[in-house]
């Protein structure tokens, strides 16, 4: 796996902020975009994308690549992703270790796979094919899952490690997802981090969640809760500075200020992190 650039702290470009985010005077280092919102789309979305591109690096983070699903990869989707990555000169792109399509029907959710060697063998070549087709390094995100699927023989950390190693891709470590999964499945999130190939972590997601009776839901309702910040500090102590994104998708505030406040907090933590990856291009 090639070393990935360090980008600093970013936020996602959301509809609510198409006008305000590109005009912000606050510190911001990069912007994440969902390709599903921008590929083949003009008008205000495209204006916002181009305005952000003029100021910051852009990283596409998808939800419909379907690396885990049974259907063939969607050629038209991959072509669109490649065009977007080329147009913004994306340093890398990412999606989730999950499936979202069955028999041509998009379920528009990140659905969990059985965690076993058969799934590793299914997913890894699909990731390699997608990365080759798009022509950029790929980062795989650890998703949340509310139940362990039948036929699982590996624990979550082992499954994730096996897939990224077999696919030789990077890891987009969503620390809210780690926290939510730890609560829903009763494991120790720090031990989970210790079991991962942290040298592959190219980016982190920080987000919020909703606590419901009997289950914690991965809703990306911000701000980032304290246990997730504590996991972030533990991670940084292990990895050094790592590209970080504030993910806030539910009840998005009308002004990006609250997201940028969270970004400031992450940036402050990054600034105090001992640089253990000084060789990384762009690391502080």
């Amino acid at each position: 796996m090639e070393p990935l650039p360090y980008l600093g702290v970013g936020v996602g470009l959301r509809r609510e902020h198409f006008a305000s985010l590109p005009a912000t005077a606050r510190p911001l280092d990069w912007v994440e975009v969902t390709p599903e919102t921008f590929v083949g789309v003009g008008g205000r979305a495209r204006q916002a994308l181009l305005a952000c591109r003029a100021r910051w690096p852009i990283v596409p983070h998808g939800v419909s690549l379907d690396v885990g699903g049974p259907d063939p990869l969607d050629d038209a989707y991959l072509d669109g992703l490649r065009r977007l990555c080329d147009e913004v000169d994306a340093p890398f792109f990412s999606d989730h270790l999950s499936f979202c399509r069955l028999g041509g029907v998009y379920l528009h959710d990140l659905l969990p796979l059985p965690m076993n060697e058969g799934a590793v063998a299914h997913v890894a070549p699909r990731i390699r094919a997608a990365a080759a087709r798009v022509g950029r390094p790929f980062l795989l995100e650890n998703p949340t899952y509310y139940e362990v699927m039948p036929g699982s023989t590996l624990d979550e950390a082992a499954f994730l490690a096996r897939v990224v190693e077999a696919a030789d891709c990077g890891l987009l470590l969503d620390l809210n997802n780690v926290h939510v999964n730890a609560l829903n499945h009763g494991y120790d999130p720090v031990a989970f981090l210790d079991a991962l190939p942290l040298e592959r972590v190219g980016q982190v997601h920080l987000a919020g969640h909703d606590v419901r009776p009997g289950v914690v839901l991965d809703t990306h309702r911000g701000p980032v809760p304290d246990p997730v910040w504590r996991l972030y500090e533990r991670l940084l102590a292990r990895t050094g500075p790592v590209t970080t994104l504030i993910e806030w998708d539910t009840a998005v505030p009308p002004d990006p200020g609250p997201l940028l406040d969270e970004a400031d907090r992450a940036r402050a933590l990054l600034a105090t992190t001992v640089t253990r990856r000084a060789a990384r291009p762009g690391a502080p």
Binding site: V63, L102, Y106, H108, D109, Y146, E147, L217
Partner: protein
């Protein structure tokens, strides 16, 4: 793919396509895998999230279509609809087809598929790709024309709750203004259609005036209005 993984996906497909009670579908899914002891409530989270997303997206994108059917038939339509595009915002793109197939057996109002097409056209115009600035006057590439035997533009503009749309042939024009990026809809009239035809076919305004029995000034005024309204994109200077 291993046979186990194939069986897993087949069971998932049955689970998500199961009509009605998610708890019953979750129990049926669990029963397919001996030795698997899932918490059914956790499986229900997925069934409800996926159905809820379809319902919420359709209701957000097609509010007038939603308002024109009662809750029971709406629930049946949501359950039948299948998203076939990777963008979740485009989930409503094919909903008119779901309505076409359901008009008879769900006894839906006959105008409903056309209304859904019109509401979707507003979204499609809003998100349509940008076109490069033309080197001569051109029809706005986001312009769509929808023909139906109801006055649906007026229906859409009326405050809810709406009565049944008036009968009468209509060509509804839907487009995104190239300067303001706002989406407009209105019934086509003879002047707008003349301007679009003159531009689309590159007809000389003098010839168009002679053919239509109107003055050149009238043709020119129709063209000027079409540019002002954004139906026609002027040559970039």
């Amino acid at each position: 793919m291993t046979p186990d993984l194939e069986a897993f996906f087949a069971a998932q497909a049955r689970f998500f396509a199961a009509p009605g009670d998610p708890a019953a579908a979750a129990a049926a899914l669990a029963a397919e895998f001996p030795g698997w002891r899932p918490r059914p409530a956790r499986l229900v989270v997925y069934a409800e999230a996926i159905a809820g997303h379809v319902r919420a997206t359709l209701e957000q994108v097609l509010p007038a279509t939603r308002a024109a059917v009662d809750a029971d038939r709406w629930a049946a339509l949501v359950a039948r609809h299948r998203a076939r595009r990777p963008a979740s915002g485009a989930l409503a793109a094919d909903f008119a087809g779901t309505l076409d197939a359901a008009v008879v057996d769900l006894d839906l109002p006959a105008f409903l598929p056309a209304l859904a097409r019109l509401e979707w056209a507003l979204v499609a115009a809003y998100t349509a790709p940008d076109a490069p600035a033309p080197d001569r006057a051109a029809v706005n590439p986001t312009l769509d024309a929808l023909e139906h035997p109801w006055r649906l533009c007026a229906y859409l503009d009326a405050p809810a709750p709406r009565a049944t749309p008036a009968a009468g042939d209509e060509v509804a024009l839907v487009w995104r203004h190239p300067a303001t990026l706002r989406v407009h809809h209105r019934p086509a009239d003879a002047r707008a259609l003349l301007a679009v035809k003159v531009v689309a076919e590159g007809i000389d305004p003098v010839a168009a005036a002679a053919a239509g029995g109107v003055s050149v000034a009238q043709v020119q005024a129709a063209l000027d209005d079409a540019v002002r309204d954004g139906l026609v994109v002027a040559r970039s200077s």
